[in-house]
Amino acid sequence: MANIGNGHGMFKRINHYWRILGTGISFVVFGIGGILFRIIVFPLLNILIWNQQLRIIYARRIIRFAFRVFADLMSFLGVLRYNIHGLERLERKGLLILANHPTLIDTVFLMAFVKQADCIIKSALWHNPFTRGSVRAAGYICNDDGPGLIEDCSASLNNGNNLIIFPEGTRTARDGIMEFKRGAANIAVRGKHNVTPIVIRSVPLTLVRGEKWWQVPPTKPVITIEVQEDIEVQTFLTRAGSEILAARQLTEYLQDYFMKENNNAKT
């Protein structure tokens, strides 16, 4: 018995170090990929396609494809496993997609599977050498512009883009307690966009806010992405009587909704 136990322990240890290595490789590939896209792929796109709107469409397609490859690379390297449910619900346009954000990695899957995805980028990514080429080519929304942001987001949705927002504005804390900002609900309520929730689970958690890339979890994480049924925004508007109050109630509802979904995963 002791022998088997040791063998098992050794396997676990090897697997652990392998996943650290695999994660490191993934990060390096991501960085190199980001640079190559910036200095080769997107400049080439600039030469080939002159119409700006068309160029953004292609840039986003390329990015989605690249993230798809990257997701499969991580799964091939044994860093993680992933499964997706409800993908057919994404076969629409102008979706306001709200998701929780347990791990750095979930972004990869959202960008890999949401077509014509738009997102709000913090200005750091706009300047980061590894990401600036891609986020600029794709014309993502920059989050510097306070209240004007709501209108930019609504306009993007009306143009048929699928806008991905993490209402928390940052990754979820390890304890799973979420605090939603009201921006996302305001976009929904003021632009009359229904919400398409995507619940993301990482079991065990990995690459949580504030953790280093080499701090891999004890076992291989399984990332589950569930596209849920839409939440109708009109119900909230009717009940609340004003956009301001509807945004508050929707925010509260969404926060409860995501925390409940998240807790279901634990039990």
């Binding site: 209240p147 009201r182 921006g183 301001i244 109050l245």
Partner: protein, 91 residues
């Protein structure tokens, strides 16, 4: 909501502001004091602040410079800004 006029004292304007905050955001009046910080104590965010400016413009028929409101922190600041806006009207 009562109308505002330029003959109102700051105390009267304060009462009006508290009413406005209560009506717009369902804040409990008992929780509001002149020193209450809109952002840290009353859970107002930048989107709400824009709505407050819009509301004040509607009521006074004036255009408040958004930069002026950016410096606003407390309920008393709102009262002061509003008093100034009303005084402008008197000119």
């Amino acid at each position: 909501m009562n109308t505002l006029n330029n003959k109102m004292s700051k105390d009267e304007i304060y009462i009006w502001v508290v009413d406005m905050l209560h009506e717009m955001f369902e804040l409990e009046k008992s929780k509001i004091t002149p020193q209450s910080n809109l952002y840290t104590e009353l859970d107002i965010d930048s989107i709400d602040a824009v709505d407050i400016v819009v509301k004040m413009n509607q009521i006074t028929g004036k255009r408040l410079n958004p930069d002026v409101f950016r410096a606003v922190r407390t309920v008393q600041d709102v009262v002061n800004v509003l008093a100034q806006l009303l005084a402008e009207e008197a000119k």
